[in-house]
Symmetry: C2
Subunit: 484 residues, 2 copies
């Protein structure tokens, strides 16, 4: 009786503690569940195609599982039907290109390794009971070593890495398991047919049910990166010059931060280009779309982004630039910013809509003209009494902007190259590329020594507008700018 | 007879052509084979560990193939022994961390999915002949969809992507194949044990035969990147200032190009850090070595590299800088270059040897002092008659160098943090970190308005040397510099 009451006491003293512990535990659990739910929602909202992809994988896997379910199918394939399930799980990737690449790699590698495995098995069986295992072991060792080494070659790694993995796997399985199983040919044939079956299921579903094209993703990534650079320059102009003029800074943060993702886009661009090469023609893209040219534009975009990173440092630096100095170079620098921003955005739009960039060259020419203007300003005598330490930040910004304009020009050239290689359609018949090139050389030949910051650009046959500064420049075609 | 002679004529007219074709074919084939041989040699020479890795894979695979060979082993495992071969092929990666990560992922995922699969199978079998396949299909669909979606979470993708893949695979195979096979538990147990067997073979071989540690690779990558930045600054000083002074340019190209690989090192750093987390303590690294701090240093190195990319542009630009202007800022700029170069190299060496950086802070302080010096120079009256356009390139270089010095300071802070978190040993008892901090604040408090470019730095208790400029700075400790 005594022990019972002691036990009860213990229980009553324990239970509040237990309750408390349970309460805090359940609360933290709830918080974690809610946090996880929020993460799920965010992951899905960031890219709704992820949800669809998950459903597609579930569907494909359930479909292939039918092989086990329907008696007649099961009887013809037997345990080998397992390979179909396996193939679906490993081959089904997010984009069509990745899935096709893996599927083709797997199919071809299985075929080749199967044939070689059968051959190796036959060769080994000729050498008698003692020699057979030694020879088989030697074959496995040699092919595994060679294939593993070949996987280190960068070009092969990019496209055929998975194929080589499957080659090693199949060769080892076939040649070694053949040592036990005399039905080796039947096994190889069964394995191949189930793999083809699984891979085809993946390919059909990935191509025909809400396809995610790696090529299109690369295309959009490149266009968006160009747009981000353009957005930065526009926001930089607003922030750097307006802020130092009247202290009124607009919230441009998202535009000012956007370029950061461009800095590290190399890896994703390269993998997308690798996947895109496997994809058949789709939508606006033909089978042999010049994906390599996209990588070239990507590299130039990154070079531009490096300059922009240096520019961005000057936004956050302690404002040491005196308004007087700024007011002198302001006009030309703002024009450089805005014109190259317009050019980059126009190029982004051109890539997005797959049309020949029509007015980008004009904007580039304008920014080049502004550059010359700036240089002539800097040579003028306005500076003599200026304190050099106060000039340096402004001079650096100016110099970086000159670099950015150069980068933008290179990007424009490379987009024009893409437009001609990929046969982008031209939308604007009034300004043909030849004419806009003429305009460029016209403006480029302007006297760089002129002291006036006003540059007059003659744009043949296109709408002109007179700005408050007396600068004539082409009006953006409706629907081409600021809607990118 | 006539037809025969015609045939012979045809043969004689064909055979030269055929011979020629065969000749050119065999020649181009030989050229390709030679080219391929050269590639193989280069791939092996670039990193000899690749050859060893290939041999290790071959060895592991041959070892596991013995399961098929030895009758007793084969009889206990049967066809399941195949899973061991498969595991070796898929799990054996280049570095220990990647192999351990994949092996543990595969083992744990198989265990978990096996248990759930058996559970699902049991639950489905309770619902009768009609309900069973429907329920199984539903289970497969649900888990495949959920797991595929979870693979999109960045953190999970980085560490458990392969585990989730294997989870989907095993769950589907077990629950569906169980539908046919009543020996489901036996199957699950056999599969698990062969996988554990294959994975252990991989792990033992990867750890004990010439191990390649991802952590060590990350460690070296970070140190080498710092060294590359330091090398660039040294070469830049030689190239930019000497070249413009006496036109004598040394072949520093490899030093000047080295930094480029730093720009795009993010992806490899992150994957190495992910692998390193799986690795047990090895050599100088403990199990929970602060790999994340390496990523922080890597990010700062890249930021420094972006500035250097902008600097590099000025090396190749048309030399517009007049020697007079250059001669004024030269002294301070060269000091900034050399001192931050020394600091970066000292930091690289400190990381490499895992010792506390002893004199890096002094170098940083020196370069900060040179920066102040430069600023005061720029405020002086030497400039009034200078043409601003001629000043701009020099001013930009100066401004970028100021940024680089800031970056180097951040890197030094972050390496110091690493040194204290990872308990780097201190080699130099005469200059303790506290003292070098004191020195730093001493020099940092120097009057920035001083006109003299000569900065006197008091280094307590360490060897001092008097340079030709009358600048006192600490002598590099023997074996610490230029040997990195």
């Amino acid at each position: 009786m005594e022990t019972e009451s002691v036990n009860q006491e213990k229980k009553s003293s324990l239970s509040p503690r237990l309750w408390e512990w349970l309460k805090t535990f359940s609360e933290s659990l709830m918080a974690k569940v809610l946090e996880f739910g929020r993460k799920i929602k965010k992951t899905g909202q960031d890219d709704p195609r992820r949800v669809i992809h998950s459903l597609k994988v579930g569907f494909a896997l359930t479909l292939v599982s039918l092989f086990y379910y329907f008696q007649p199918l099961y009887e013809s394939f037997g345990v080998s039907a397992m390979w179909a399930v396996m193939t679906v799980v490993v081959v089904f990737e997010f984009s069509v290109g990745a899935t096709l690449g893996k599927g083709l790699n797997r199919g071809l590698a299985t075929l080749l390794a199967g044939a070689l495995g059968v051959g190796a098995h036959h060769l080994a069986s000729l050498s008698g009971n003692t020699g057979e295992p030694i020879l088989l072991g030697l074959f496995v060792f040699l092919q595994a070593t060679t294939s593993t080494f070949i996987r280190f070659f960068p070009k092969i790694k990019a496209r055929y890495d998975y194929g080589l993995l499957i080659f090693i796997l199949t060769f080892s399985l076939i040649s070694v398991s053949g040592f036990r199983d005399d039905e080796i040919l039947k096994l190889a044939q069964k394995r191949l047919s189930t793999i083809i079956l699984g891979a085809s299921a993946c390919m059909v579903i990935t191509i025909f049910v809400c396809p995610v094209w790696a090529g299109e993703d690369l295309h959009n990534l490149i266009a968006n990166n160009l747009e981000k650079l353009g957005n930065f320059l526009e926001a930089f102009e607003a922030e750097y010059f307006k802020a130092s003029k009247d202290g009124d800074s607009i919230d441009n943060n998202s535009f000012l931060e956007g370029y950061r993702s461009v800095l590290n886009s190399k890896a994703s661009e390269e993998s997308l280009a690798n996947f895109a090469r496997w994809e058949p023609g789709h939508g606006r893209f033909q089978f042999r779309h010049p994906w390599k040219q996209y990588l070239k534009i990507g590299t130039l975009s990154r070079q531009c982004a490096y300059r922009i990173e240096a520019l961005n440092g000057h936004l956050n630096a302690d404002a040491q630039v005196s308004p007087e100095i700024l007011s002198i170079i302001q006009e030309a620098c703002r024009k450089m910013c805005l014109e190259s921003s317009k050019a980059l955005k126009e190029l982004a739009l051109a890539v997005k809509t797959m049309t020949k960039p029509s007015v980008a060259d004009t904007h580039i020419a304008n920014s080049k003209a502004a550059t010359k203007n700036l240089k002539s300003l800097l040579q003028s005598s306005l500076w003599e009494e200026a304190d050099l330490l106060a000039v340096i930040p402004a001079a650096t910004v100016a110099s970086l902007l000159i670099d950015v304009v150069d980068c933008a020009e290179n990007i424009a050239d490379s987009v024009n190259e893409l437009a001609s290689v990929a046969n982008f359609k031209s939308v604007d018949s009034t300004v043909s590329p030849e004419k806009s090139k003429l305009q460029q050389s016209d403006t480029a030949d302007l006297d760089p020594k002129t002291d006036s910051p006003h540059v007059v650009i003659t744009v043949c046959e296109s709408t002109l507008a007179l700005t408050e500064n007396g600068i004539v420049h082409p009006v953006s075609l409706p629907g081409q700018h600021n809607q990118v």
